[in-house]
Amino acid sequence: MRGLVAARWLQTVLGALGLITLLAGITASFYLHNARFDLGPGNRFTLSDHALSVLREIREPVRITSFIRTEDARNPVLKDLLWQVSNENPQISYTLVDVNRNPALATQYGVDTYGATVVESGGKRADFTLPVESQNGSTRCRATGNVPWTRPTDSRAVPECVKRCRTSFTTSSL
């Protein structure tokens, strides 16, 4: 009888593990091949066709390091944006660094503000402030001479900034 009960328990545990694996696999495949329906005003949380074309043009590895504060309420939007960007092109990877937890890394990068983002590619580097940290009503990309180039909190901003920063890689020594 005890053997039967043990066998039932084992069957239940194995069934649960199998189901977890299956569901995790399905969820992971949707994570990698996500479909998005943006019902928000102005489709602000979806990359535009122009942004997608910019991202698809990238052929060399680009690493984005964003310095954040963990408790910041704007982090989900930022994470979502970077996830979309990296999901579009495997050449792009991103890391979110909590400035408070990694002050040494922030110092090493010369970063002293929340939302500061460093784009690195081919041994070159460009810094900019992400849209969520925009100032004076417009986002600025330091790599392009502090020129305001997009409206604040526009989710299409990062690809544009990557493009501009990449242009600046070739036109100036950063």
Partner: protein, 248 residues
């Protein structure tokens, strides 16, 4: 199907006949009304230079979901525990019903309670719409997200209720489980960097937040459906275990 419908209407009668659902609904709507007033007031007063309506719904329904999480265990705690305590579960198990039909009827009855409660919050957008018409598509995403979240958490509550005869124990453990699932990634600073991504993928808030912004991602839908299926599976195994564990 007729037996299933009969069980569903019995579950609904049991839920709505008890004062608990009405008290819970009243407290929920009082709190939701308070949040609606204060959130609207805050956006009108300060503005934050943003679209008032868009951000109002985002903020309001994040608050509303927090109240929903608090009341879910109060609705689900009795589903199996009460029947086990009263001994009526034996009648149910000996009735010509499959375990899946019993579970579906109980789950659906709880969901219908929440559809009624959540449906009442549509009054707030309706009030604003009457004053100033706006695009309601963001609300479609929000309500879909809430239903998926509630579905996942109701199933967890139903599963925990199937494990015990004591309603209070079921409520406390359900509350712990749904709150943990909701808050899992809130203190990211306490989690090593290597597992932050995994924790974030398991956190219900991280999957609901896009819905609040009006974004429906298939990956988030898959997350909530997966939890619902998994908790449903565990409930089925819990019901089935009576045959070999010799317990109710």
């Amino acid at each position: 199907m007729r037996r299933f419908t009969a069980l569903l209407s019995k579950e609904l009668r049991a839920l709505f006949a008890a004062p608990l659902v009405w008290f819970v609904g009243a407290v929920f709507l009082a709190l939701a009304g308070y949040y609606f007033y204060t959130d609207l007031n805050a956006f009108i007063t300060f503005g934050f230079g943003e679209s008032i309506v868009e951000h109002l719904w985002q903020r309001l329904f994040n608050d509303v979901v927090r109240i929903v999480i608090t009341i879910i265990p109060l609705i689900t705690m009795r589903v199996y525990s009460e029947e086990k305590n009263l001994g009526t579960i034996e009648l149910l198990y000996t009735a010509p019903l499959r375990d899946f039909e019993i579970l579906s009827a109980k789950y659906l009855a709880c969901m219908l309670v929440f559809v009624v409660i959540i449906g009442a919050t549509a009054l707030y957008p309706a009030l604003i719409y009457r004053l100033e018409p706006f695009d309601v598509s963001q609300l479609v995403a929000i309500y879909l997200g809430m239903l998926l979240l509630i579905s996942a958490m109701v199933t967890i509550g139903v599963f925990i209720s199937s494990l015990t005869e004591t309603q209070l124990i079921a409520a406390v453990f359900s509350y712990g489980a749904v709150l943990l699932l909701w808050n899992l990634s809130w203190n990211e600073a306490a989690v090593p960097n290597s597992v932050v991504g995994i924790v974030s993928q398991l956190c219900a808030y991280d999957h609901f937040e896009p819905f609040a912004r009006g974004v429906i991602d298939v990956k988030d839908v898959a997350y909530f459906v997966s939890i619902t299926i998994f908790a449903g599976f565990l409930t089925m195994r819990s019901m089935e275990s009576r045959q070999w564990r010799g317990r109710r």
